[in-house]
Symmetry: C2
Amino acid sequence: MTPSKISIEDVARRAGVSITTVSRVINKQPSVSKKNLARVEEAISFLKFKPNVSAQRLAKGLNNTVGLVMPGYPGIFYSFYGVELIRGVGHACETLRLDLIFHITNGYNPLLTNNVGGIIFADIIENRKQVMAILEEGVPCMIINNIVDDLDVSYVAIDNRSGGFMATDYLIGLGHKRIATVTGNLHTQAGAQRLEGFKKALARHNFPLEPEYVFEGDYSRRSARSAAERFLSLKNRPTAIFAASDDMALEIIAVIMERGLKLPQDVSVIGFDDNPAAIYGPVALTTIKQPLFQMAEDSVKYLNSIVSGKKRGPIKVILPPKLVIRESCCAPAGT
Amino acid sequence: MTPSKISIEDVARRAGVSITTVSRVINKQPSVSKKNLARVEEAISFLKFKPNVSAQRLAKGLNNTVGLVMPGYPGIFYSFYGVELIRGVGHACETLRLDLIFHITNGYNPLLTNNVGGIIFADIIENRKQVMAILEEGVPCMIINNIVDDLDVSYVAIDNRSGGFMATDYLIGLGHKRIATVTGNLHTQAGAQRLEGFKKALARHNFPLEPEYVFEGDYSRRSARSAAERFLSLKNRPTAIFAASDDMALEIIAVIMERGLKLPQDVSVIGFDDNPAAIYGPVALTTIKQPLFQMAEDSVKYLNSIVSGKKRGPIKVILPPKLVIRESCCAPAGT
DNA sequence: CTGAAAGCGCTAACAA
DNA sequence: TTGTTAGCGCTTTCAG
């Protein structure tokens, strides 16, 4: 049942050298004569030898494995956000030749940390205690998309507050007065901060905050549909809507068009993510771009440099979002 | 830098027993006196001891790790299919206490198999040679959603051909004569077989196969939009459309509504997947349900039983799809 | 019920 | 450039 029954010793025997020499070629050390190198390589490929990773790790005393923990919150899997994260982390691990161990948490079970060199949290939502437990164990870790300044922990995040501000400010600049928003899950920092940015922009221009213009969504298309239906039924229909994700924006657009309204003339919509899918809808989506893939990749790189001792202490990075103007927003009718 | 510096020896010392005894309690062997058990447990929690998994694996000579390889094909990540697979496999691994190593392949690089007890392929698309290489290495493996009868390999698949047949047959039964289809990626077996099922149903009822009613999509919403636009512009517009995924069906519905057509009265739409998101659109989607999550979970269980020697030889399972009737299909107008 | 000792497969000084 | 040897941390006979 063992993956391969042949060991370094078999290779050594066949090549007529010591196991040390074999080990050297496995680890690409230069100090091996051409002749022996050739013989060992022949033996390796002949025997289809694969070094036993557990033995290597044990002997080297290191663990080139990173754990990616996804919040139990199932919606995250269906979101562009979640998918980009997985892809980015996966890609970076591939590049750095790290094993990626995938862990879905319910937020309560303790995390098995005895098998990883470091851990990446794909957002933390109601599982702060897990993070703290990890920290206490001294396992290097990295949090994605959460600014955590009260803990001695590393993170790579996006400035969601300024993203929310940007989106709203842009709408205001276009001349909109009645601006609504569908928020993301407010238990996530990203969701909460985008909303804060929205409010801040309103306040900055002395616009009142109308409660009926704020719908608490959860990043799902479903919640966006409910929001759109409510907004569009209002006597005082908003002329612009800021959605906390592109997916939600897309669903809102669908509802708008189902009702026979024109977009962006009747209602402008701005999203958040820069999901490539948002370019090919009926109207190319104006949005706030956040570098998710890069954030995910960076987090692996930073984590690795901490694990391997190249860097110390918490690394705290906040990436800026960016306004991407396409076609789903314009000045309100009658301006 | 090591996750934990304390070893079984430290625990033994503190508990005043031998390392063997400590090992016994780690492995929950019953032959330990209550007194020693208590002392060891105390020492373990006091020292925050975590056994070194590499050492355990090495000593035990086994590898309770499964690799999940995702085709490079990026679209799969954004699909309901891909996400359900990841969730299902992840969940099963959690339950069976297996480590899940996540591997995104470009289809060409050889897979690193020396670190896993078994491998799961999330579909195979243009990477058959990888599968064959794995087989030759003797690593137990399992293929998801591909019926592979010419190879001595295990799989858990869905009968996509009969799914395609079912959908089309249902439409025909409703009285439709002009039935179109947007296919999935035809390089995937699922895509090809759903189309075959479509054709078979047509043939069974002696309907001609109109090339203009077949649009080669790739499971993406984008391709579905193109398809819908083409279908709806036809002089002889189809009265029903079979989409090879719910996501595509949803996009088609959006296009239909954007054009001010009525659904299902003007055009009926049937999907494939039973994506929960398809219930909350403007019209609840009629679809073909496939047990993706279960398929993923089962594949892990089967793989595990093979790896652990409980079962032998290839396990070949084909799960049936099921018609789920909701509101997006009705008899064509004028019947 | 407990412990001594021999590995698991590989790496890394240290000599040669 | 090569080989000898001592571990890495844990499990597992085998005695006791």
